[in-house]
């Protein structure tokens, strides 16, 4: 983004000086003469509009935009432009990971991204930073971020950041990015991460790649690999000329690993940042959170998922799937057909129109395995398929297949596992 005062419109009224939360605007004497070659034939210095004009100290300005609506004469222009375009990119440094938190608890995907980000930062010989937003009590969670390898934590606190809302989060993180200039920013490809990243990238002028399944550094650039065309092809994407290079990454693609040399929290490695959030950022109000009673384990975070498909025949047979999931301590998944038929709620749906999952074990029961379903689960560590049809496409991605009736095998498996557990 860039900001400038349109001198032909500025009257020197000083309203913007009062509106700026950072003291970045001062009044200066109106320049004696302003070059006239600019706006085609327009009045250049518009004489008689006051002796003083506003000037913005760009070293202090965070581009927060608070001054723009304060000006009654539309004399302040805040323009979105691609970050770092055509400029020296070397002052963009550091790999940032957005530490997604819900209800004050940092989500697993943040630790996975820190683990992967550590490798990227090592390749780039730069530091790994976590960005944690929340109300002031979130500070208690900081040690977890150091535990997974963060060199530094940007702690952004404000009462309005307790729960996620697009506008205040975008405002807060955009201010931090503008000020501290990271070269890479990674976010989890969760509903929250994708909602935030898409808006943030436009605000700060970053290239953004969605839903990556692979990251690497080549020639100093982030190589972002992701599926497209419903998982039929893979594309590698890079952002050569603009910064930061932003990507959302699917949960469970990378493993989280605690580091040996954990940094101790100090005044140097915790950068405290208090964003300026305006009324305009608080227009969307959360009225209610509706729990889904049938969701016992979050699919996206589950280590084991047992999924049911059309082969179940009717809604009540999902009980078989639930029993097997329970004995394994896993989550219940479902194919689109079963959700469309109303057998189970949409929170359980795996696949292109549902969730993308990547558990250690995925057991597909009575699921044929259309490309849309495979797109959502084929990167699971171990896939087991139970299906009557030996030609079902699910067997193409399964590590272990059972050609047979799920009504025979699923209860048998549940019983045997129970026996083993004693």
């Amino acid at each position: 983004m860039s900001i400038k005062i349109l001198l032909d419109k500025c009257t020197g009224c000083t309203l913007c000086v009062k509106a700026c939360p950072f003291g970045a605007i001062a009044m200066i004497d109106r320049p004696a003469r302003i070059a006239t070659q600019s706006v085609a034939g327009g009045p250049a210095d518009a004489p008689g509009k006051g002796k003083k004009v506003a000037e913005i100290d760009l070293d202090v300005c965070t581009l927060c935009g608070a001054c723009v609506p304060s000006c009654k004469f539309n004399a302040i222009e805040l323009k979105k432009e691609l970050g770092g375009s055509g400029r020296d990119l070397s002052h963009f440094k550091g790999v940032w990971v957005f530490a997604e938190q819900r209800e004050g608890k940092i989500q697993s995907v943040a630790f996975e991204l820190l683990t992967e980000g550590k490798k990227l930062a090592a390749d780039l010989k730069t530091e790994l930073c976590a960005v944690l937003c929340g109300d002031p009590s979130i500070e208690e969670e900081i040690d977890h971020l150091f535990g997974y390898g963060a060199d530094k934590v940007y702690l952004i606190t404000h009462p309005e950041l307790k729960h996620y809302h697009t506008a205040p989060y975008t405002r807060a993180i955009a201010e931090a990015i503008t000020k501290y200039k990271p070269e890479i920013m990674l976010l989890g490809a969760t509903t929250l991460g994708r909602d935030l990243a898409a808006r943030l990238a436009i605000r700060v002028g970053a290239g953004l790649t969605a839903d990556c399944t692979g990251l690497a550094i080549d020639n100093g650039l982030l190589q972002q690999t992701r599926p497209a065309f419903g998982g039929n092809i893979m594309a590698t994407i890079q952002t050569p000329k603009h910064r930061p290079q932003m990507a959302t990454v699917r949960p469970k693609v990378f493993r989280k690993v605690k580091v040996q040399n954990v940094k101790i929290k100090t005044d140097e490695n915790v950068i405290r940042f208090k964003p300026v959030i305006s009324e305009e950022d608080l227009l969307v109000k959360l009225l209610e959170i509706v729990e889904d009673e049938t969701v016992k384990v979050n699919l996206a975070e589950a280590e084991i998922i047992v999924s049911g498909g059309r082969g179940l025949g009717e809604a009540k047979n999902f009980k078989l799937i639930e029993e097997l999931a329970a004995v394994l301590g896993g989550a219940v998944g479902a194919s689109r057909a079963t959700v469309d038929a109303g057998w189970i709620s949409a929170h359980h749906q795996v696949g292109q129109t549902g969730k993308t999952v990547c558990p250690k074990l995925y057991i597909a029961c009575g699921i044929a395995g259309k490309i849309q379903h495979l797109a959502g689960m084929q990167s699971s560590d171990t896939i087991v398929a139970v299906n009557k049809d030996p030609d079902a496409p699910i067997f193409k991605v399964a590590h272990y297949g059972i050609v047979g009736d799920l009504f025979e095998y699923v209860p048998l498996l549940t019983r045997r596992l129970k026996e083993l557990q004693g």
């Binding site: 979105k80 697009t166 506008a167 509903t191 994708r194 909602d195 898409a198 808006r199 990238a201 436009i202 605000r203 002028g205 290239g207 953004l208 969605a210 839903d211 599926p227 497209a228 419903g230 039929n232 092809i233 893979m234 594309a235 590698t236 994407i237 890079q238 952002t239 050569p240 969307v284 109000k285 959360l286 009225l287 209610e288 959170i289 509706v290 729990e291 889904d292 969701v295 979050n298 699919l299 084991i304 394994l328 949409a346 292109q352 129109t353 259309k370 490309i371 849309q372 087991v384 030996p390 067997f395 193409k396 399964a398 590590h399 272990y400 297949g401 059972i402 095998y409 498996l413 045997r416």
Partner: protein, 260 residues
């Protein structure tokens, strides 16, 4: 209630096949369709119009043949359809696409609501809807499955990973919708007749006064450097034997992999 729906014409990815010899995508003969989530967006807009009156305008950025997708939306009941098409838009990523659509929307004048599908099934980014909202400086509500409007406000239910969220949002705003929103109607016979005769207005880069640095390849910070097909999965081991035996084998295999 004036509603703008943004759509994309996409290849039907369910029909995409891989050539087993070259391991590349077979694009020939793959039909082009209106992105399925965008059909949910149109249906949502039509239902709001039926309730509150007003107008539904559908826009798309794409090559000239994307006019076909717009005609489908007229057949469903949209009042007007506008194609934003120009060679200068070629190679747009989500930055350039959201900019271009937002410029066109500014040109269209007053609106109360913009509805988009949550994502397109070819790119799967879910980035253009929020991008439009940011360019226009209005609120966004993503992953909606219920949408009511009343008195300049929208009440929206969002589908998240484990829970649903009910939010209230002042209009104008951008709402992106998931499949559970509704069941899109089929084009009516009358609608198809109307679509046949319908004139699709075309807007160029000049018409929408686009900044050349923000459109097409120039305005796209991301570049695709490589496309490849994932190695074909050969399939794993089919376990054989008596049912008890198979189940025991499976448990052993899973144990070997240290999962349980």
């Amino acid at each position: 209630m004036d509603i703008i729906v943004c759509i994309k014409q996409v290849p039907d990815t369910t029909e995409v096949k891989i050539n087993p010899e070259t391991n590349t995508l077979i694009r020939e003969g793959v039909p082009s369709i209106v992105n399925p989530f965008d059909e949910n967006a149109i249906e949502a807009a039509l239902q709001l119009k039926e309730k509150h009156g007003g107008k539904v305008t559908v826009i798309t950025m794409g090559p000239p043949q994307a006019a076909e997708a717009l005609k489908t939306t007229i057949a469903m009941g949209a009042d007007e359809a506008i194609l934003i098409s120009d060679r200068a838009f070629a190679g747009s990523d989500t930055w350039a696409t959201s900019y271009t659509l937002s410029q066109a929307i500014k040109k269209l004048g007053k609106f109360d609501l913009i509805i988009c599908g949550k994502q397109a099934i070819d790119g799967d980014t879910a980035q253009v809807g929020p991008g439009i909202a940011e360019w226009l400086g209005i609120p966004q509500v993503t992953f909606a499955f219920k949408l009511e409007t009343n008195d300049g406000k929208a009440k929206v239910e969002r589908m998240l990973e484990e829970v649903n969220e009910i939010v209230e949002c002042p209009l104008p705003a951008v709402v992106t919708v998931v499949k559970q929103m509704n069941e899109p109607r089929l084009p009516s016979l009358k609608g198809m007749m109307k679509a046949k005769k319908a004139e699709i207005k075309n807007l160029t880069a000049a018409d929408i006064e686009a900044d050349p640095t923000n459109i097409g390849l120039n305005g796209s910070p991301t570049n695709v450097v490589k496309i490849f097909t994932p190695p074909p999965k050969g399939g794993g081991e089919i376990l054989s034997g008596e049912p008890e035996e198979i189940v025991n084998k499976l448990i052993d295999k899973v144990k070997e992999r240290k999962i349980i």
